[in-house]
């Protein structure tokens, strides 16, 4: 059963439904093995460009029904990672396993039944020339699921689930507010009843008052459909609120990974610590902390030798400059960290 390619399993699934097979409990919903992506910059028809390692050797397991948070500074490769999981970018190296089966070579449609995205910008994630019903129904039509009547019913049902009025079906995206658009994007992701949803900064373009509505919705849906999320965000308070485990990325690599309590309670990597320190909670009188990082933001196409964080790290030592620390579970508590001093 496990050796079966993903395509056939997907093909044999009828209408999207929440069927759970027995063997699923053990294999993680999503597993990344040594995933890497290299971009070539400035190449032309006849000349070769420089290379940029946007994601390097990322390994991660996301257990079924859990939320994995992914944080890190701007440009560290979070969106590139998400795009590889969604099949939008082919990895330069490494594998993605969905339900223990490799995705490489599986066709996009089969993958789409398992993984769906929610993107950052509710203004560009919906085609402005299509009605909401068309947008949400598109997955069903592309996959030829059900008759047009069944599809319409399914769309209406999904709009209910995400808390949109049914009359929204006939409207265009331009007639909806940012929060409503994000609900439409969520409906589109859910209409196929996927197992895994990749959320790339789903609330960062929304006002805080709307953000809370969307976060509540995501939590409800997770409980209702047993979804597994990869949740990418800059907002640490939101991440702490939502996730079960967190992975911290720096310059294309994961530098620390662990449960929410481990990361937020006792961070071990200096970058994680700096990140947590710079989160400004609404507590007046505390002032802005001095996080003690230099401003030497590294060039991703020319990463520093050794630990990529060493030029900014307040604790850096000679080894840090020469040797790259490995991401290891040092204490055997199922938390991994890549730092010589951890």
């Amino acid at each position: 059963m496990n050796a079966q390619p993903i395509t056939e399993v997907a093909e044999s699934r009828p209408l999207p439904s929440d069927s759970a097979s027995v063997s699923r409990a053990v294999t993680p919903a999503l597993e990344l093995c040594g995933l890497s992506k290299t971009f070539t910059l400035g190449g032309g028809l006849f000349k070769r460009g420089r290379t940029l390692g946007a994601v390097s050797n990322v390994s991660l397991r996301i257990p079924r029904g859990q939320v994995m948070g992914l944080v890190g500074e701007s440009g560290c490769g979070k969106s590139t990672l998400a795009k590889m999981l969604l099949g939008l970018t082919t990895p330069s190296d490494g594998d993605v396993l969905v339900d223990g089966r490799p995705v490489r070579g599986a066709d996009q449609k089969a993958l789409a039944r398992h993984i769906q995205p929610i993107f950052q910008d509710p203004y560009s994630s919906l085609n402005p020339r299509k009605r909401i019903a068309q947008i949400v129904g598109l997955p069903l039509r592309v996959h030829g699921i059900g008759t047009p009547r069944e599809q319409a019913a399914h769309v209406a049902e999904t709009l209910d689930v995400v808390g949109l009025p049914r009359r929204a079906a006939e409207q265009f995206p331009g007639q909806l507010s940012g929060g409503q658009r994000q609900r439409v994007a969520i409906a589109r992701a859910l209409v196929m009843r996927p197992d895994i949803v990749i959320c790339d900064e789903p609330t960062s373009a929304l006002d805080v008052s709307v953000q809370a509505q969307i976060l509540n919705l995501l939590l409800d849906l997770k409980a209702e459909f047993g979804l597994t999320y990869l949740f990418i965000s800059h907002d640490l308070a939101v991440v702490e609120h939502l996730v079960d485990r967190v992975a911290v990325m720096y310059l294309g690599r994961i530098v620390e990974e662990g449960t929410r309590e481990q990361i937020f309670g006792s961070p071990r990597h200096p970058y994680t610590r700096a990140l947590l320190d710079s989160a400004l909670t609404p507590e007046p009188g505390l002032g802005v902390p001095d996080i003690g990082l230099g401003d030497a933001t590294p060039d991703p196409s020319d990463p520093p030798a050794g630990c990529a964080f060493h030029p900014r790290c307040p604790k850096a030592q000679a080894t840090c400059r020469q040797q790259r620390p490995r991401l290891e579970d040092i204490r055997g508590d199922n938390a991994r960290v890549a730092c010589h001093l951890a």
Binding site: E73, S74, G163, S177, G178, G179, Q180, D207, V208, S209, V210, Q211, A212, Q213, L215, N216, L217, L219, D220, H234, L236, A237, V238, E240, H241, L242, R260, F264, A274, L275, D277, S278, A279, L280, T281, P282, E283, P284, G285, L286, G287, V288, P289, D290, I291, L293, D295, T297
Partner: protein
């Protein structure tokens, strides 16, 4: 006398469907050396207010005010020329997107020095010295070399620092910073805010800081003005606002961000249901009442600005007294 005094400031914009009242009669003041934060939802008129103060409103916009005084000078009466002098020398602005505010065709040195040479008549050499001093103060190493670089050669965080240095060049009395850190990530945001706060205290500059991040406000502001739908609905010294928010919108804002340690992870957050009303045409009554958990029939009338303790004001009929028949607050996902 406060450095800046604003009374009943209005900004109207003609749009296709009628007139958009982007700013609907706001009052506030800024003392010398003070940091005032303007907070509010997207589209509530924060940027329009700052552009009105700077005299940089879009051409079609109409501005009226009972009083718009900067250090005793009536800004509404000023000629464009004097206005422009004032803008360079005594008020300056930091924009959200530094790339659009820096001219890609000139070196940083040119852009930094230009204002000082024009407004203060100093020599190029003196101007360069001050530029180098300020770049070093904002934490840019090798400042001398940077003067010959172009904006695109810098990262976002560095550009924002350059903008801060540029705003400080003429030692202005007032800096207006419109979401200067929204585009940056948290570590850089913390560095820049710290720097701004330090420099502000060192030079005694007053700052109007615009943001929608309540975390940022709590950490840097002396006083806060919360805006909603073109009005200031609550203003108070920062500790008072966070301790006793008087307006239901402020309370809503504060309770809908997850607070580590207070909101249990995975629990439901309080959300403010509904959306902001349209500001096109005449807005009658409390603009928040379609989203307010405690709205009453009284709220159909425009609420007055109630004075609470000290410097704490709120524009709500029930800011200082309980609501007659309290309804349980609704949480809608």
């Amino acid at each position: 006398m406060p450095l800046l005094e604003v009374n009943n400031l209005r900004v109207d914009l003609p749009v296709e469907a009628g007139t958009l009242h982007a700013v609907r009669g706001i009052d506030f003041h800024v003392e010398r050396g003070e940091m005032l934060c303007l907070v509010g939802e997207s589209g509530c008129g924060k940027s329009m207010t700052s552009l009105a103060l700077m005299g940089l409103l879009p051409r079609k916009a109409r501005l009226t005010a009972d009083r718009l005084q900067f250090d005793g000078i009536d800004l509404t009466m000023l000629s464009e020329r004097r206005r422009s002098d004032l803008r360079g020398a005594r008020m300056s602005m930091i924009f959200q997107e530094p790339m659009t505010a820096l001219n890609p065709a000139y070196t940083l040195g040119n852009q930094l020095c230009e204002g000082l040479i024009r407004h203060r008549g100093v020599s190029r050499q003196e101007a360069r010295e001050r530029a180098i001093y300020l770049l070093e103060r904002v934490g840019i190493s090798a400042a001398k070399d940077r003067l010959n670089q172009y904006p695109h050669q810098l990262s976002g965080g560095l550009r924002q620092r350059v903008m801060i240095a540029m705003a400080l060049m003429c030692e202005p009395d007032l800096i207006i910073a419109d979401e200067p850190t929204t585009a940056l990530d948290v570590t850089i945001q913390a560095q820049i805010l710290r720097l701004l706060r330090e420099l502000q205290q060192e030079f005694g500059t007053a700052v109007i800081f615009i943001t929608h991040d309540l975390g940022v406000v709590a950490r840097i502001a002396d006083r806060v003005a919360v805006m909603y739908a073109g009005e200031v609905i609550e203003s108070a010294p920062t500790p008072a606002l966070y301790a006793n928010p008087a307006h239901p919108y402020t309370r809503g804002l504060l309770s809908c961000i997850p607070a580590p340690g207070k909101t249990p992870p995975g629990s439901r957050l309080q959300a403010i249901p509904g959306v902001v009303p349209s500001l096109v045409g005449h807005v009658e009554g409390c603009a928040f009442r379609n989203r307010c958990p405690q709205a009453q029939p009284t709220c159909e009338r425009t609420p007055p600005l109630m004075s609470l303790s000290g410097d704490h004001r709120a524009r709500c009929h029930y800011a200082d007294r309980p609501v007659p028949a309290p309804r349980p607050p609704e949480t809608i996902s």
